[in-house]
């Protein structure tokens, strides 16, 4: 350093440049390590889940796990049929999406095709606030408002817990996911397509539904699939609002237990490591991980296709 200061023109020799690069190698290695932690996390998740799940399936056959209709691992007479948990997860997610997708898509069309920039600048961030509210708060909302003041009063729900109450609370959480991502997809449809639609005499709604919507379809489907993944893995809302009774039923006004809620239920008790109960939560976690992974991969595939089309 002292040498270079005395010389007005700094011309670094190749050797000095190589030295500089060598000195920076550890920094680069450290940065790479930071990025590699994400790979280690995935590997860790897979190893932990598979290892404990294999221990579980040594004691319980896969066939029983997938076909038995009773789930009573915490009782004296144990049955390990995952169907009641799977069906509850599926039912709650489907109901939540049945509300969130039409409303979210409507909001997205409004924001992208109808709203003035000023309205949009207020509405969009306000909607996204919903996604940032902790999920225990939605659980509270479901159990103190949706269940007693809507479902018990108007639909004749019997108990304080039900799949529908959890699903409605969850739909509010999913709404901004669906609307934000769909709106992004719709806004990236080129204006020329819309102008062509208007030039042919279509009105605003016709352009939105027949031109913009089909053009943005893969992005919209990706948004719905991501929301689905979120719904399947959402834990606190179903734990608080759906009740914790494994129940193989399609009646949304009954209490039932979803996959993640079972993990919470076992975690709240004092389960010794290595016991069968301890292993069940990893088997259930593996089922959950596989479901959400497939959905996420599907969504990303859709998104990458969509990017190729319009950029």
């Amino acid at each position: 350093m002292a040498m270079t200061e005395t010389r007005p023109a700094v011309r670094r020799s190749p050797r000095r440049r190589r030295l500089l690069r060598l000195q920076e190698a550890p920094v680069l290695g450290l940065l790479f390590l930071c990025a590699a932690i994400s790979i280690l996390t995935t590997v860790g998740i897979v190893i932990v889940l598979v290892e404990e799940a294999v221990g579980f399936f040594r004691e319980v056959s896969v066939l029983e796990f997938l076909t038995e209709t009773r789930w009573t691992p915490l009782f004296v007479e144990k049955h390990f049929g995952v169907l009641p948990l799977l069906s509850a997860t599926f039912l709650i997610s489907a109901l939540a999406l049945a509300v969130a997708v039409p409303v979210g898509l409507g909001a997205a069309i409004y924001l992208s095709e109808y709203a003035s920039p000023r309205v949009r600048a207020v509405l969009k961030p306000s909607l996204e606030v919903l996604a940032g509210i902790p999920t225990v708060v939605y659980g509270y909302f479901a159990i103190t408002f949706i269940a007693p003041e809507l479902l018990q009063r108007f639909l004749g729900q019997q108990t304080a817990f039900s799949a529908l109450s959890a699903a409605l609370a969850m739909s509010v959480l999913l709404l901004p996911m669906v609307s934000s991502l769909s709106e992004d997809a719709m806004r990236s449809v080129p204006a020329s397509l819309r102008e062509a639609g208007y030039a042919l005499g279509s009105n605003r709604f016709e352009v939105a539904v027949r031109v913009v919507l089909p053009a943005a379809l893969s992005g919209i489907v990706a948004a719905v699939v991501l929301a689905m993944a979120r719904a399947v893995g959402e834990t606190m809302i179903v734990t608080i609002a759906a009740g914790n009774v494994p129940n193989l039923s399609w009646n949304p006004l009954e209490a039932m237990q979803a996959l993640p809620a079972y993990i919470v239920q076992v975690s709240l008790g004092d389960t010794p490591a290595g016991s069968l109960e301890y292993k069940t939560i990893f088997a259930v976690g593996l089922a959950l991980f596989i479901c959400t992974l497939l959905l996420n991969v599907a969504a990303q595939w859709l998104l990458s296709r969509f990017r190729e089309a319009y950029e």
Binding site: L31, A35, S38, L130, R204, T235, I263, G285, L288
Partner: protein, 297 residues
């Protein structure tokens, strides 16, 4: 064959009228859909305020939890949340920013980089409770950290890491390439360019994103229950190896009880939780506002 102009036929007028009506009705419905979310948000806040405002007091914030709903407070939960937040930030922020710098500034375009990027996207979609299972097997059991603040913070670091990386990358992208090119043209190495030019310029936008990502850690409940955070903690956590509870778990505990008095305590706890989140968001937005005013390009 010599059809009259289509616009003169009754059928045409009928169809036009129908299209106008459908368009007008749709416009109203779409507006309703857009406002529905806001309405739900307002309703939720009103319900929480209705139940919890009366219960909120300084005593509520400084008291330990209790079997008696009227005496229960959130002192240990609030302190636990702050402990977990600080430690989570201490792990997730440097690692997340490091990963972002690597991917944005150094990573070669090859299969390994693609795998890392796809992997980060997938991790962002993994349910947080699955991280809880990882934390339980890895930090609590294998590393023998027990049900401690440290185990909780490490678990939450993994939960928020993908989001921290994504928002830090967005921050780095706000620095125009010309800044980097100018620095490289003057003979700086790539690391010197990053350290002296890119990072100072990207710091504020990065911090905005990172704070928002960390605010997710404050509201997380499920992974901490899975690693075995306690439900009833009548003492202050003093170090990283102490057992702990956090605000959302305390709220969950009160919500799960049937007595309405505990529901009121839960609502008051929710108000405090939302206030903390609001504070973090306000800081993030203030930083963004301040940095955009000072930006020189």
């Amino acid at each position: 064959m010599t059809a009259p102009a289509l616009s003169k036929t009754a059928e045409w007028r009928h169809r036009l009228l129908r299209r106008h009506i459908v368009g007008a009705v749709a416009a109203v419905l779409l507006r309703v859909a857009a406002v529905a979310g806001i309405a739900a948000l307002v309703l939720l806040l009103v319900v929480v305020a209705r139940d919890g405002l009366d219960r909120l007091s300084w005593d509520f914030i400084t008291s330990y939890p209790s079997r008696f709903a009227s005496r229960a407070g959130i002192r240990s939960a609030l302190l636990g949340s702050l402990w977990v937040l600080e430690l989570t930030a201490a792990f997730a922020v440097p690692v997340g920013i490091g990963a972002a710098i690597y991917l944005e500034e150094f990573a070669p375009r090859n299969w390994l980089t693609r795998i890392i990027e796809t992997n980060i996207n997938n991790l962002a979609g993994v349910p947080s409770i699955v991280y809880g299972l990882l934390g339980l097997a890895l930090f609590v059991r294998a590393m023998e950290l027990g049900r401690s603040v440290l185990a909780g913070a490490l678990t939450l670091s993994l939960v928020v890491l993908p989001i921290v990386i994504v928002s830090a990358r967005e921050g780095l992208r706000t620095v125009p390439p010309s800044i980097r090119e100018a620095s490289l043209a003057l003979g700086a190495t790539r690391w010197q360019t990053v350290w002296h030019q890119v990072l100072p310029a990207a710091l504020a936008p990065m911090m905005t994103g990172v704070i928002l990502a960390l605010s997710r850690a404050i509201g997380e409940t499920a992974p901490l229950i899975t690693i075995g955070a306690l439900l009833f903690v009548p003492f202050d956590p003093h170090g990283p190896l102490d057992s702990f509870t956090v605000l959302p778990i305390q709220i969950f505990n009160w919500v799960s009880r049937p007595q309405p008095a505990f529901h009121q305590a839960a609502a008051a706890g929710i108000i405090v939780l939302l206030a903390v989140l609001l504070g973090m968001n306000a800081i993030a937005i203030a930083i963004r506002y301040w940095s955009e005013r000072r930006r020189q390009w």
